[in-house]
Amino acid sequence: MGMTIAEKIFAAHLVDEPFHGTRVLKLDVVMCHEITTPIAIADLIARGKDRVFDTSRIKAVIDHVTPSKDSKTATQAKMLRDWARRHNIKDFFDIGANGVCHALFPEKGFIRPGYTVIMGDSHTCTHGAFGAFAAGVGTTDLEVGILKGVCAFREPKTIRINLNGKLPKGVYAKDAILHVIGRLGVNGATDRVIEFRGAVVDAMTMESRMTLCNMAIEAGGTSGICMPDSVTVDYLWPFISEDYASKEAALVEFKKWWSDEDAVYERVLDLDISGLEPVVTFGYKPDQVKTITEMAGTPVDQVYLGSCTNGRLEDLRVAAEILKGKKIAPTVRAILSPATPKVYSDALHEGLIDIFMEAGFCVTNPTCGACLGMSNGVLAEGEVCASTTNRNFMGRMGKGGMVHLMSPATSAATAIEGKMADPRKYL
């Protein structure tokens, strides 16, 4: 019987099976940010176990609230900073070098196909785009990960989603994943790995695959995962060129992780998305989706473009193409948070930042910012935000606020009109 990619990764990392159905896995990378890690650090200190399992396998960033907004967030940042220094964690990213974790860490080349990755952040599933098993965990799992380099998981049952056809003009990875979540429901993939396959995924850039995998958790999924292919090799090549004789050799090695032809899936969903329209959410759950045609005209107060879902260069390029030479509506305010310093810098040199600023966007430093209502860009009671982020829970971006999830293109068109708008007419 064949194995899925997740089963292969589990088999290669198995440390222990203390009980039937529970696998304790060796971890390749443990990621940390300043919101969920300081309590883990404090607890390790209190237990007299202020140690890390492997300095080189721990990556840390201050990203949720940066620069610090008050004494409490400054203390959180300080705790992470002091800890990283104390343990000589080389890959620690502080102000000036910091960006949104799930955009920054891939950009630094920290992920490889076949890796196991955890982080105290639910959108860690993003890294599955590289053919890794990457899962969000709580602080206690993180603590054990930091201390011992292991984490426990249930057996990885897999839902395979074949995205067949071709993405139409004006329709992007974000629309595809919102459509998938609409089909699965918010708990349709709980305790499951979602394997994204098909011609649409094959044709996607790594950035788009990250957008796809980022939202696997919004259907309850433990991880989203893509097959590592030549697109993956090209993305990683600057980091792996010394390890392989050629890109072809790297590809041969990466393909060892591919799900076998006769792998067993719990469920296979075939979706031809050639006829898909731009999609937006309308309620307080990410599976509440409608087409932009149904939602067009809904007024918004704020547009937010950024986050681990859609703050990458590709996203900024798409939005800038629509915004070029235009102004945002006077009734709306628009915020751009490039996800990393590199994204910001590249966008600056390409002239994209000028386009955003001339259109009337406020451009902030790379940070998670308004996405979870923790720092810059929080909504007031009753306000509505068109957002490229991943979660639309009631009050998510501020108490009493309403969030509509959408692609960067749809958010750009919405900024121009001050109400939800179809991006296709601007392309």
Binding site: V15, D16, P18, F19, H20, G21, T22, V24, I35, T36, P38, I39, A42, D43, R47, K49, H64, V65, D70, K72, T73, T75, Q76, M79, M119, G120, D121, S122, T124, G136, V137, G138, T139, T140, D141, E143, V144, L147, K148, V150, A152, R154, V186, N187, T190, D191, G220, T222, K285, L372, G373, M374, R391, F393, M394, G395, R396, K399
Partner: protein, 175 residues
């Protein structure tokens, strides 16, 4: 080992998320105890008052499917823990929340819909109390002059974590 049981709080809705359990603005707190007043602050549910006596007095939460969906924040179980609510009973849980509960030596217990409906039959009584016996895998519910016992399934690993008092001690002794 923690104690599981006491007056019950019934939250009759699916998909109660981590933002509703503890809003992100309180994630700047760095001790569990500081989270205490903010339990379920953003949960809008008919008849439910997060600041009410009922919330303060309850020791068990009973809810519907996909409880704890959303963020990985362990602050969600912690805000229950510091309010002496060590058990949540629901039809299903989001994976990270459920694991966080067991990792803290707390209990996230799943019941099939029929058994859960039976439990919700006690929601209208002011004196409803629930006791959970982890070792025997039984929930005892009492209220409105009646009582009954409901068995539940739990994975051996999750049970071991509750009995060990949580994942850190378990893992440190073993790996």
């Amino acid at each position: 080992m923690k104690t599981f049981g006491g007056p019950a709080l019934f939250l009759d809705r699916a998909d109660i998320n981590t933002d509703e359990i503890i809003p992100a603005k309180y994630l700047t707190e760095i001790t569990k105890e500081d989270l205490k007043p903010y339990i379920l602050e953003d949960l809008k549910l008919p008849g439910f008052d997060p600041k009410g006596e009922k919330t303060k007095d309850s020791r068990v939460i009973v809810s519907r499917s996909n409880f704890g969906c959303g963020s990985s924040r362990e602050h969600a179980p912690w805000v229950f823990e510091v309010n002496d609510i060590n058990a949540v009973i629901a039809e299903s849980f989001a994976r990270i929340f459920r694991q966080n509960m067991f990792n803290c030596g707390m209990a996230a217990l799943e019941l099939p819909k029929e058994k859960l409906d039976l439990l919700f039959g006690y929601a209208g009584f002011a004196d409803t109390a629930i006791a959970v016996d982890i070792e025997d895998q039984k929930i005892m519910v009492k209220g409105g002059g009646k009582e009954e016992s409901i068995s539940f399934e739990i994975s051996p690993f999750d049970k071991a974590l509750v009995l060990a008092g949580g994942w850190v001690d378990y893992a440190d002794s073993k790996y």
